[in-house]
């Protein structure tokens, strides 16, 4: 469904990503792992129109969408759940979720989808009228993912799910994510916690200093020494 071809991206005059080739097939859950500064967030930013693409291109269903702006990409079904959640702090959970559906055509199904989100994340139901800024870290992450799902994405991209969360919360989130995947959604997960990412994903890519150094089935990747080198340098 999604394919990048020799993608290069960065900020103003700093190129962070070089010659990146990744693929995500419909229905897959793919993980991108790598150390800090490896370019994982930059990659998602490039795919959602937030980061300048300096070389190469990327395609959605065979169509070159490199030059499209963020709003077009969202309408095409690419939804980015950014690092650090970025919820609308002063709005309630319900309002955040409704805004997630902003780009959808017509208002059919929005209330149903909202209900489905609350079933998927029961903890959110209790807090549905609370201000998003008052939620705990785990609840905020749930809200962010739910908000992303409200856009009925074709591809859901999540950046650093586990950041700042206790292991228990991360487990709960990953279980919910597994359900989302099982329901047929395609997920691209950027994650620093290698173990949890590769345990749940089917395939993975290892990024090191802006380049893909290894890719393959998640279970195999877990055993590779390249992971250690990518993270620790030795």
């Amino acid at each position: 469904m999604l394919r990048t071809v020799d993608l290069g991206a960065g900020y103003r005059d700093v190129q962070v990503l070089w010659d990146v080739n990744i693929e995500v097939e419909t229905g897959e859950m793919v993980a991108i792992v790598g150390s800090n500064g490896a370019g994982k967030s930059t990659l998602l930013g490039a795919l959602s129109g937030l980061v300048e693409i300096k070389a190469g291109r990327f395609e959605l269903d065979g169509r070159d969408v490199t030059a499209l702006g963020s709003d077009r990409l969202v309408r095409l079904g690419i939804v980015h759940v950014p690092q650090g959640r970025h919820l609308f702090q002063g709005l309630t959970v319900r309002e955040n979720l409704l805004l997630g559906a902003y780009a959808r055509q017509g208002s059919d199904g929005i209330q149903e989808d909202l209900e489905r989100m609350l079933e998927l994340f029961p903890a959110l139901r209790r807090r549905v009228s609370s201000l998003a800024g008052k939620l705990s870290g785990g609840e905020q992450q749930m809200c962010a993912i739910a908000r992303g799902l409200m856009g009925r994405p074709r591809l859901l991209m999540i950046d650093e799910l586990s950041l700042g969360l206790a292991p228990v919360a991360v487990d709960a989130l990953m279980d919910a994510l597994a359900q989302v995947h099982a329901a047929g959604n395609t997920i691209l997960l950027v994650e620093q916690d290698v173990q949890i990412a590769l345990e749940h994903a089917q395939r993975g890519y290892i990024l090191d200093t802006g380049r893909v150094v290894l890719s393959g089935p998640a279970s195999e990747l877990l055993e590779r020494p390249e992971i250690r080198t990518a993270y620790l340098g030795l």
Binding site: Q195, T209, L232, G233
Partner: protein, 259 residues
């Protein structure tokens, strides 16, 4: 009053440094030593508190508790320009040269106000030319500093700091944004500067670079020092593995080794 300095003596001593922002302890009881002549690396995962620590060392932030001793003098709480004058130079992560000036003039600022304070603009410019030759920027001396490539801007940043004749040079994420060959060149340059008599503290994310460059490494996580030692020691340290790759991975790897 400058202390007598010998290779291996601690030139920077950090003791029980603490800094909190509200309830969050960004720096929590941090102690370590930087020894004369070495290249010490400071690493840690995102949010470990490296930036806060650098700000504490350079006077940009004041610690809530603890002590910083530089070249035998207690510099805790000193203003940034005093610490700069005392011989601790620093480069910035986001490299922004002084845009209204040429490359040479940028470097001259370092010579004018740093430790080796030159009082005449002419002498400062001469020193600037010396330094520019050291970092291979001599050809661009008259250029506007806003027209340089990223790699050259980083060299300029380095040159500004060296022109101040520092005793210690703090390199804040100097490798960011460079690709493989540029990183190699940067490593060479830093080693050359070190051999010229400047002790270096490198804060970095690019692990490969740090492992190749540093004599010793200090690892921070959540504001605390969790490991200290040679690159080999540190990369095998269970706490470090856990901090970088996650607790689950560490458990697996160490469990597999029957540790």
């Amino acid at each position: 009053m400058e202390a007598q300095r010998r290779i291996g003596d601690p030139i920077l001593r950090v003791a029980h440094l603490r800094k909190s922002f509200g309830a969050l302890a960004a720096t929590d009881n941090v102690s370590f030593e930087l020894r004369e002549g070495e290249i010490l690396g400071l690493i840690g995962p995102n949010g470990a508190g490296k930036t806060t620590l650098v700000n504490l060392l350079t006077g940009v932030a004041e610690p809530d508790a603890g002590r910083v001793e530089f070249n035998g003098v207690d510099v805790t709480g000193w203003a940034p320009h005093r610490i700069g004058r005392a011989g601790m130079a620093r480069t910035f992560q986001v490299v922004r040269p002084f845009a209204g000036m040429s490359v040479r003039e940028n470097v001259a600022i370092g010579a004018l106000f740093g430790r080796g304070q030159r009082h005449s603009v002419a002498a400062a410019r001469a020193r600037a030319d010396e330094v520019l030759a050291q970092v291979d920027l001599a050809a661009l001396a008259d250029r506007s500093s806003s027209a340089l490539t990223l790699q050259d801007r980083k060299r300029l940043e380095l040159a500004k700091a060296i022109a101040a004749d520092p005793l210690v040079l703090l390199l804040d994420e100097v490798m960011a944004g460079l690709h493989a060959t540029e990183i190699d060149e940067a490593i060479d340059l830093v080693r050359r500067i070190n051999r010229g008599g400047v002790t270096i503290l490198v804060i970095e994310h690019v692990m490969r670079a740090i492992m190749r460059l540093c004599d010793r490494i200090v690892v921070l996580d959540a504001g605390r020092v969790i490991a200290e030692g040679t690159p080999q020691d540190v990369s095998a340290n269970p706490g470090v593995i856990k901090a970088y790759l996650g607790a689950r991975w560490a458990a697996r790897e160490l469990g597999a080794e029957g540790a």
